[in-house]
């Protein structure tokens, strides 16, 4: 499906936080700065290194699209997801 990130290497911007992305922005997850159960909860939802996320609605909580589904996400957690923007 969306496989553009595979070759996106040089088209990506430096790392930023998922929380700070504007609506409509799409990015690749680089890593998570959270441990334990919350990390696992993010990962099973697909917020995990390598996945592509798209911001559907910003704010706290925000809505992102990962693996074809909408995920409601608290700002506190969105601030732990480091992403690199697709251009």
């Amino acid at each position: 499906m969306k496989s553009d990130f595979m070759i996106a290497g040089e088209g990506e911007q430096p790392v930023s936080l998922l929380l700070s992305l504007p609506v409509g922005a799409s990015a690749r997850v680089v890593d998570l700065e959270v441990d334990g159960l919350d990390r696992e909860r993010l990962e099973v939802m697909g917020l995990c290194a390598g996945r592509t996320v798209e911001v559907v609605k910003s704010g706290d909580p925000m809505i992102v699209r990962v693996l074809g589904t909408r995920i409601g996400l608290a700002g506190r957690l969105a601030a732990t997801v480091r992403v690199s923007r697709h251009v």
């Binding site: 993010l42 559907v56 995920i71």
Partner: protein
């Protein structure tokens, strides 16, 4: 049915295959939330399902029976899960149960339910289950929906990638179920040789960690891309449109408030009739038994203990059934996730998760179903905090008490009455939120677990599921809480009956002062009356006399009995409880110094006490069951009693200081 592509190699690693033919056969149903798993379970097992707990846990599973070509198979419905990771208690239990590590033997097979419109996400769990040593059939659900929207899923290709039979079904319409049953039967009979794990899938690794999760998701996305074409555009667009309103910080909250108000009104309006019928039926039965049996201990035990106790159980049933009916509809439609989403920030201010709101609203009907519905809160500490404050919210059993106090204070003045009524509700809510806030700074220190929630595509809810949920929750309540309520009711009956007044004295009182006075003399003579007198010094600072104490004591079984008990102790007779007779009798009561017993200060203090006190042993029984320990139930009782006592003390003494009697 569609062909089951099988690799030529006969699996050697599937040791569970040999056990499939022996003994009682259990098949596990597993899948992500929102995949229609419950619908499929209901379809396969019909009306024969039961809810049971995993041994030693509060985690529930549903167990039903289905017939597969003459063979009886137990179908076990695991909770909806996204993955099988060991760190999450629920997922660990599910994993153990698939491996046969929960005490019961390993299942002979697993049906993994997959949402065809959400393939990549669902395949993650499939890959994990596939790596356990249990034969797997994949039920590819919602194929009707996918087809309508131009999404095509190639079951044969998917089957090759998973190394497991894949059967397209629609749990909603029942399409494809015979094929699913055939595939399952073939698997259990050992007729179909078990396919080996495809190389790519076995490379995914089985431990957690983001590195392996990442590989697994790569695999899932690739397989989804290979096996499906097109995308469910229509429902995606509809969901996007609806979410623009329903998750909006202002409009979303407004819709939520309106929906919850409607739910609340429906709960009361619809439950009123069956509750009335139950009360009338129970009282008719009591009257009939009372008239058919000679007066004495047996008659009193049956009428006031057993029948009244059964009535006390049944009367909760309509609200519980209706609540779970509507919650199931809201959940099925996909809305409940949005409710948690819009409430998360507001509830977060007192340290509760967004998912706590709906249970807390339900608590205004009855704390028992509210405690049961906190199961949606996945974090244990969040759930405990919510459960601990739920009984502070004004349940419908408090309403007769509020009504009585308001009638005492403001009869014929509806505005003041209405204000006091509102104040009582508000006091409950403020207390619940404050206690939650306090708990998150002390005993359950920390913030609520931050929100991560799937917002599923909106769907038309299933009436069938809602009716079955209603029946299921009602059944759990009757079995688990019902027995406790009945026993408590019998216990309270014994307290207010024994020791008995001797016959001579009873005859004297009846001759001199009549039946009504005899009723109150009996209660005073019984243990309840003696305890009431003994604890009078404790409650005197709140403005209660020993007769009110008997009422307070008796209302530990159920609050609404206060009104009936006061009617008996003040000699109106329990028939007089409903009429103005009680109000006038209470108003006429005088203390030794000539002041009225039910002055403004005492009435307010009584009201405050009833708003805040834990006077509901059935709730305590459910609290123990849901929290898994008497410790939390005891703590809840303790803090609420202290809170109620102190608040009533401040109310009474404060009003007295201000010179209000």
């Amino acid at each position: 049915m569609s062909e089951i592509p099988l690799s030529a190699a006969v699996a050697t690693c599937h040791t569970a295959a040999s056990s499939a033919t022996a003994g009682a056969t259990t098949v596990v149903l597993i899948g992500n939330p929102n995949t229609g798993k419950t619908s499929l379970f209901n379809r396969l097992t019909g009306l024969r399902a039961k809810t049971a707990n995993f041994a030693g846990t509060t985690l529930e599973r549903r167990v039903g029976t289905m017939h597969l070509g003459g063979r009886k198979v137990h179908l076990e419905d695991l909770p909806g899960l996204y993955a099988l990771h060991a760190a999450n208690a629920e997922e660990r239990i599910a994993q153990d149960s698939l491996r046969g590590a929960t005490g019961s033997p390993a299942p002979a097979g697993a049906v993994v339910v997959v949402d065809a419109t959400n393939l990549a996400r669902n395949l993650y769990l499939v890959s994990q289950v596939r790596q356990l040593e249990v034969p797997v059939v994949v039920a590819l659900n919602m194929t009707d929906l996918a087809g309508r929207e131009g999404l095509r899923v190639d079951a044969a290709a998917l089957s090759r990638e998973l190394g497991a039979p894949v059967v397209p079904i629609s749990a909603r319409t029942g399409d494809g179920l015979p094929a699913l049953q055939q595939a399952l039967a073939a698997l259990l009979d050992g007729r179909a040789p078990l396919p080996a794990l495809p190389v790519r899938l076995s490379a995914c690794g089985s431990c957690g960690g983001c590195a392996t999760s990442s590989v697994r998701f790569d695999w899932a996305e690739d397989v989804a891309a290979v096996a499906s074409s097109g995308a469910p555009r229509l429902s995606a667009e509809r969901t996007a449109r609806l979410d623009r309103v329903l998750t909006h910080p202002v409009a979303g909250l407004a819709v939520f408030a309106a929906l919850m108000a409607a739910l609340f009104v429906a709960l009361f309006a619809l439950a009123e009739y069956p509750m009335g019928a139950i009360e009338a039926g129970v009282s008719a039965l009591g009257g009939w038994v009372g008239a058919s049996l000679p007066e004495g201990d047996l008659q009193s035990f049956l009428v006031d203990g057993v029948i009244a106790g059964v009535g006390g159980v049944l009367v909760f049933l309509p609200q519980i059934a209706i609540l779970f009916f509507f919650l199931s509809l809201l959940d099925d439609s996909g809305y409940l996730a949005r409710a948690a989403f819009v409430m998360d920030r507001l509830m977060g201010k007192v340290g509760l998760p967004g998912k706590a709101f709906v249970p807390m609203l339900s608590a205004h009907a009855c704390a028992i179903p509210a405690l049961m519905s906190t199961r949606v809160i996945e974090d244990r500490r969040d759930r405990l905090a919510t459960m601990l404050v739920i009984p502070l919210l004004t349940c419908s059993a408090r309403l007769p008490v509020y009504a009585m106090v308001i009638a005492l204070l403001f009869a014929g003045r509806p505005v003041q009455g209405g204000l006091l009524f509102t104040a009582a509700y508000a006091l409950g809510m403020v207390a619940a939120l404050s206690v939650a806030w306090l708990l998150r700074r002390t005993l359950l220190r920390g913030e609520s677990r931050p929100l991560v929630i799937e917002l599923p595509t909106y769907k038309a809810p299933s009436l069938r599921n809602a009716l079955l949920a209603m029946r299921d929750r009602g059944g759990v309540f009757l079995r688990k809480a019902g027995t406790a309520i009945l026993l408590i009711s019998i216990g309270m009956w014994a307290l207010s009956t024994y020791p008995r007044l001797d016959d001579e004295r009873a005859a004297e009182i009846r001759a001199a002062e009549g039946d009504t006075r005899l009723q109150s003399a009996r209660l005073e003579h019984a243990l309840a009356g003696r305890i009431g007198r003994a604890i009078e010094p404790v409650f005197r600072p709140l403005g209660f006399d020993w007769r009110i104490d008997i009422g307070v004591l008796s209302s530990f079984a159920a609050r609404e009995t206060l009104v009936a008990t006061l009617a008996v102790v003040y000699g109106v007779g329990d028939d007089g409880a409903a009429s103005d007779g009680l109000r006038d009798a209470l108003r006429a009561q005088r203390r030794e110094d000539g002041r009225p017993v039910f002055g403004f200060a005492t009435s307010c203090s009584l009201l405050v006490f009833f708003v805040l006190a834990m006077q509901c042993l059935p709730t305590q029984a459910v609290m123990r069951r849901e929290s898994g320990s008497w410790r939390w139930a005891a703590f809840q009782f303790g803090y609420m009693t202290v809170l109620a006592y102190c608040a009533a003390l401040v109310t009474y003494q404060g009003l007295r200081l201000l010179g209000v009697g």
